[in-house]
């Protein structure tokens, strides 16, 4: 029977980032496992409370974890923010007796002691499937496409809680891209912030931070940018729109890593929601005869 991994999609993948969700699920099937959506889930709260004093902020993610624990001993996520919030909350529930008590008796009314393993889909590919096996399953190598792996913040920091890879010089993304035939490109801003929730009311700052990221990638020779966060994706794309309106010129498609994975595994382009205009990678693929 096919291995099943319980999967938490989160709100955004259910709505504006469906392509991220579908491409991951389909890729998993090709690689021999199923991302099985949890029967019961709610929003994770989209930001881990940064003060120990804010116990209420742990209630929503703790509820997700408590529900997930009845469906297996691991839960996988795709969105970097969900990953960060769930993984950090899980650590509190496991290691901090006082706050665990407060969360359980004050909010979720369900016993949960942090027994789950919260993993990101990238980790599943690296540790459970193995990048060599991914390489072996590639049907359409993305030969020579220069890709900038944009990590942003939530996948990496804080290292002591998240720990998916080295916080200053991560390689997990690049290793995957190499397995798909791409040529990963190092660029200075790959672990810098896109502007995050300043999307609400702080557009000028977002435009500056996000266009720095894109310019840094393009300046290092990247032809596409690959991300694992719908908020990074949104901020980058919106910033480009604002820059283009003001006469700027930044042409570089921004894609979810699972869309690139899906393409390389030979999936039907129609299900991947590859986007349009400046956002579309297909003209580049055509130009290279891929």
């Amino acid at each position: 029977m096919m291995m099943k991994i319980p999967y938490y999609p989160g709100c955004t993948l259910n709505t504006v980032a469906k392509g991220f969700d579908v491409s991951a699920r389909e890729s998993a099937l090709v690689l021999g496992f199923e991302l099985k959506e949890l029967d019961q889930w709610n929003c994770c709260g989209a930001s881990f409370p940064l003060t120990p004093d804010n116990v209420m902020g742990l209630a929503a993610p703790a509820k997700v974890l408590a529900n997930a624990s009845s469906e297996g001993d691991v839960v996988a996520t795709l969105c970097s923010v969900c990953y960060n919030v769930l993984k950090r909350t899980n650590k509190v529930m496991r290691d901090d007796r006082d706050r665990r008590r407060e969360v359980i008796s004050g909010f979720i009314e369900e016993e949960y002691e942090g027994g789950l393993d919260v993993v990101h889909f990238l980790e599943v590919l690296r540790d459970k499937v193995g990048f060599d096996r991914v390489r072996g399953a590639v049907k359409r190598p993305l030969k020579g496409i220069k890709a900038g792996a944009y990590y942003g913040c939530m996948l990496l920091r804080p290292f002591d809680d998240v720990g998916i890879d080295n916080a200053e010089a991560p390689v997990i993304f690049e290793d995957l891209l190499r397995a798909l035939g791409c040529e990963p490109v190092e660029f200075p801003n790959k672990i810098e912030c896109c502007g995050a929730h300043l999307a609400m009311g702080g557009e000028d700052i977002v435009t500056r931070l996000s266009s720095n990221v894109m310019a840094s990638a393009a300046g290092s020779g990247a032809e596409i940018i690959v991300t694992s966060c719908p908020l990074c994706q949104y901020n980058l794309v919106k910033s480009r729109e604002r820059m283009m309106e003001e006469g700027g010129d930044l042409r570089i498609p921004v894609l979810y890593f699972t869309q690139i994975l899906g393409l390389a595994l030979g999936q039907d382009e129609d299900i991947l929601e590859l986007g349009s205009g400046l956002h579309d990678i297909r003209p580049l693929l055509e130009e290279r005869g891929i």
Binding site: G10, C11, T12, T15, V16, A17, C43, G45, A46, S47, P49, L50, T51, P52, D53, N54, G57, C79, V81, C82, C153, R157, P158, F159, A167, E168, E192, C193, G195, A196, H197, L198, A199, M200, G201, G202, I205, L209, P230, L231, Q233, Y234, K238
Partner: protein, 133 residues
Amino acid sequence: MKIDREKLHSPFVEQVERVSGEVFANCYQCGNCTGGCPVSFAMDYGPSQIIRLLQLGQEQLVATANSMWLCVGCLQCYSRCPKGVSAASILEALRQMTLRKGEDHEDVGGLPFPFLKDAPQQAIISGFRKFVS
């Protein structure tokens, strides 16, 4: 700037320490946090300066600075602090203390429709968490 003995341990300063879980005296002002902070260019005071002002009991300057509203929570400050201080937690504490008084930073009713329509849910939810009581 006037520094007086009483203000050094004012209820405000003590509350920020309690809510944030950080001890201001741990910071030795190396400036790494401000150097790595992606939004310090737009802040009235960068993260290390906010901590310095708190060490000196300058409630007024800290409470009226825009810094807390600009922090994106990227954790570069904490990640690069040689003393393990989280400026992000301190700025979040300042935000929380303001919001708990019912003083919202964003007017929910005034958010532009295109944003509400296109933005990922996580942007709206985390924005509310950071800016609305």
